[in-house]
Symmetry: C3
Subunit: 473 residues, 3 copies
């Protein structure tokens, strides 16, 4: 077992060629002190709204909420119960956090070569100062060390927010959300925390619990939604409210990016069937496709940036879904088709200059085939950074390699960390920054761009593009 001092190579993520590496360092040195911009993510605003909030135990911080971590352990035969993941029926699971941590440390080798492994190493060393590699023998010692740190005010969410040098952090919030946390943050002057309008739960009519979600939306505006016309009106009001509370963007998800423009009559008929509990699956698909176009219309009008995250089968494993619920590492990507599916939406709104449509998918075969050509033509289309599983060293390299030649750097949306794991934010941005600088250094050393251009491109990739794409400047 390893006992030597744990440190991060100053060359990490950089190609081995000495000249490329030297240029990558120059680029990285030049941008490494820029503030972090987080235009899309899932951090709970409550964490920051309460100055007294703490992260809990090391296990509560790093294992129980992180499906990246426990899915890998689960895949190797470790039960979610033994990792303390709460069950939907409340049946008991392991509650000894120190014991869970030991189990995690015993299997830390499973994360070799994975982005989670890279982030964890960076979090433990850079954020918390752990100086030896986590293993079975030192697990208890490191647990206690982390627990002690986490109790300190310097490790509160607000303190880390400042230490991480985050310029802006956008959360993701249901259409019915009253945004109390954002309200209190703004009253305190924390306007750098912004909400994002995510209406999937009411817009995708086949969402489990749709009727209850609609009831929440009704409650948020204090009136009944008994027609499609009212539904649209309420969504527009809610968007206006989010915008007032600092939102610059919306977010939308569906299994496919199918879009379709229905007549008001057709939309009304489907909505009526949904209210009557008589929806069929074709109805739901048509309505989701129609609402994508409607949301584009609203964005072209109110200027909120529209994000689409498509192509995942949620809750692929029914046994896990029944026992533990959603977001338990059992979401599996799907093939995507953008070219035909987006055509109705883009025919209607793709040429609007004020409309930003940022696309995300996990079918990398569409990078060079569909996404880059779409972004390289339509004024509205921008490409989001590599998403989810592809937020990794190789995932980013494939993205740069396949997207940039056709889309052009300036049709991309910079980076976002998309994380609910607050303390992993700097690690994730560091990986992007390093891989980006290395990619640019590779272009310079191959004579494809000038070094002076590389400096500007690096700053664009790690700071400017995210701000302009999300209208945060």
């Amino acid at each position: 077992m390893l006992t030597k001092t744990w440190s991060l190579s100053r060359d990490r993520c950089f190609a081995p060629d000495p000249i490329q590496r030297q240029i990558a360092h120059k680029f990285f040195d030049n941008i490494s002190s820029l503030p972090i911009v987080c235009p899309h993510g899932h951090v709970d605003p409550a964490l920051l709204a309460d100055p007294a909030a703490r992260f809990g135990s090391p296990t509560e911080l790093l294992i129980i909420p992180d499906h990246y971590i426990f899915r890998m352990l689960y895949s190797r035969g470790i039960s979610l119960e033994s990792l303390g993941i709460p069950t939907t029926d409340g049946s008991p699971v392991e509650t000894d956090h120190r014991k869970i941590w030991q189990l995690f440390a015993d299997h830390f080798y499973l994360f070799r070569g994975t982005p989670s492994g890279l982030w964890l190493r960076e979090e433990l060393t850079n954020v918390f100062g752990v100086d030896e590699p986590l293993n079975s023998r030192n697990a208890g010692y490191i647990y206690d060390y982390l627990a002690e740190k986490l109790a300190l005010p310097e490790f509160s969410p607000r303190a880390l927010f400042k230490r991480f040098h985050i310029e802006v952090l956008c959360t993701t919030d249901a259409a019915s959300d009253r945004l109390e946390h954002h309200q209190s943050l703004h009253q305190e002057g924390w306007t750098q925390i912004r909400p994002t309008f995510r209406p999937d739960a009411v817009v995708n009519l086949d969402t489990p619990g749709w009727r209850e979600n609609l009831a929440k939306l009704e409650s948020s505006v204090g009136r009944e939604i008994s027609t499609y016309a009212t539904f649209i009106q309420v969504l527009e009001e809610r968007r206006a409210y989010f915008k007032k509370m600092g939102a610059t963007a919306t977010d939308h998800s569906a299994a496919t990016p199918y879009t379709a423009q229905l007549s008001d009559q057709e939309a009304e008929a489907i909505f009526t069937r949904a209210l009557a509990g008589k929806l069929n699956s074709f109805d739901a698909q048509q309505f989701t496709g129609h609402m994508f176009v409607e949301m584009a219309r609203m964005s072209a009008e109110d200027g909120l940036v529209m994000q689409m995250h498509c192509g995942v089968t949620r809750n692929h494993n029914p046994a896990i879904f029944e026992r533990f619920g959603s977001d338990k590492g059992a979401d599996i990507p799907l093939q995507l088709e953008w070219t035909q599916n987006l055509r109705p939406l883009l025919s209607a709104y793709g040429n609007h200059k004020n409309f930003h449509l940022i696309l995300f998918g996990m079918d990398e075969s569409t990078y060079s085939r569909e996404l880059a050509p779409l972004a390289g033509h339509y004024p509205a289309v921008l490409l989001g950074p590599p998403w989810w599983f592809h937020d990794s060293v190789n995932g980013m390299e494939r993205y740069f390699d396949r997207v940039m030649e056709t889309a052009g750097l300036y049709n991309t949306a910079g980076f976002n960390d998309d994380t609910r794991a607050f303390v992993s934010i700097p690690a994730r941005h560091t990986v992007w920054r390093r891989v980006a600088c290395n990619w640019l250094a590779g272009l310079v050393v191959r004579g494809l761009v000038e070094e002076e251009e590389g400096f500007e491109m690096a700053q664009a990739l790690v700071y400017d593009l995210a701000k302009s794409a999300y209208k945060l400047d």
Copy 2:
């Protein structure tokens, strides 16, 4: 802004490793004086048929006709009107070419890391001798400099043709084309300009304007085409005429490579419905699939090499199509399926030794999955070089990486530039030559091929394979 001298790195496109680079240089030095072979492209033969032809202004040469260039500017919010792109209804657009050039120069940074950027730099420096990077400040000066050059006889199309050391240049011509320019060129002894037979406009029954296209075909042979049998007969006659005028190849395009063998009765019935204006979309698809097989039959008989370019949604953006027409940067690639689609054609003609079928697509996921295995089995099948968006440094590297191990080098068709931008021809071939030499040097330095073999493979990639695939030797 950059003010330093503009030069091209002698190492451009080469990997940074010094030993690999040294071998790449050896290979490149050995092939760099070979003449350029252009077996497929879209240069207008009129340019070369008239000894007095000139390219016009720098804007007419480099911006207005090049959809690679103006699509990128359009995607960042610059209107096509302001770039002087002519409208279909003749409504006015910017006519001040110097002003358009300034707009282009102001946004030249958008082309960083793109193949267009690489070609432009090579054209401006190597063809025209521009020695500082184009930018907002020097735009007018460079415009005037280029305009002056373009007026000189040394920059006429014919002079550049010779200076570029082009051995053979194949154009692409409609089935109904009378080939007057080729005729006059041949009479002058310019037999190195050859036509290519492209019958899409009459063979794809759902082409907009099909009836008018057919009328042109009728006019070219001076008789009515009122039956399928006559249609086939006329196509065979036209192929014979093209062959007499120097053609060695045909070219065919469709959204999918679907092939199907209809009976004469079925084909006749569909053709009759088309003439009667009663075609449905299934008819059109069946007929296109059938005509692919018919064209393969004719090629097996007359020996013309058959090219298939598949997998693009043409004119994806209706607003652009209506206002500006086709080929305006709004064509978006699609997923492709070759294995099942080509089976009827290959079952019939895939084993003919005299039949060459060269395949092109932009779905790179089919490179290793379908295209390379097909080329590595069927005597008739050869793989065309990376097409369109993938005619780039990374696009070529992906092609070499994914195709060669399975297809074998000798089942590929070398390079073609596929360009309508005549002055970009040397730049495009240089990129291919450099990337090819670098790829081979990578194989040598990894101990996978011998250096002696690398010299032969380099010559094959940049010269021999294109000539043999297109029967130009």
Copy 3:
């Protein structure tokens, strides 16, 4: 032509960077003496069962049985008859093996940069001691040299088995196979040769000759199979017999990984229609999908590891199939969809810890999109190594690049050579070992894993993972 001494670079398959190369050598030196584990392949057990068996002529050893070799020659216009490939109707083909060898040597350049070329070079030099590159001039001399060697006892299959240091070799055997060769091998103490249960011929009801295959299965158990219930019972008995004879795994193939759970009544009805010769193609697909789930059920019960090899159109070229039969280099891969197709099977058995399901496909776009996420969640799922065309330097590099970050190294199944070409076994494993060590060295030199971890990961990749995935430890 090359006349210099033929040798293998000690750096072959390693990236050029000197530091990465040095680390790769350290890893490779550390694992290069480990025994070879062959958990999946197509070696004929008769070769090893008979101590007096010999490989025949060089042409019988290296050309006639190897569809990798003759497909490439065929694709360049060399007839299979001239290569001695036997016809289905017994019509005569070339029988002069020395002449066939000459033809092969004349075209040896076609294998430049291909895995076959790499393996051949390694076999000829390392196994047989050939010391100059094969070419037209030395073809006869090398043929005679090889023929002489092959007659020696040191080059018998058993002698080479020992020399190759093979620890275990699994064959692939029909469900009806009586395993006489395995039986006699085991009686002699050669328990390291193990059978694998492959029931495709009886389970895929639309297999050509299904009724005859079923008759063989009936004969193997000495009773009639007139109901679905009996069919299932017989398969279970046969699995038990295979297990008794040392099998640890089963293998299953279909064009798609479609799975479906039918009721016993539905399955019985389809089976009855098949017996009555009244099967339709939908029946066949449903039954194959159902039998995948049934085989998973049996594996969860008896512990045999289940392999799925999916996504190939067999016998794509009807002319070749009719004249020469199956496995003649005319199998072409297809697009694959795993996420939806495997859901029924995984919902039922994906969480069983004792169940190992190893997946293989040739649609590399599914590596990062579907396969790695499935393996990184389901306890049962492991990913097989790159299959068939992708068992190559680039194929492996793409696999490591796209799979490991998401699946994690420990959800993969190590390497298997999948070969019927016995003498190519060491060459194939060497390529895997070298590419794996080079990949790991790349992670170390990029600061992504520690060198100490790299040693453990290398041993896992070349030895441990194959043994644990296939329950051979």
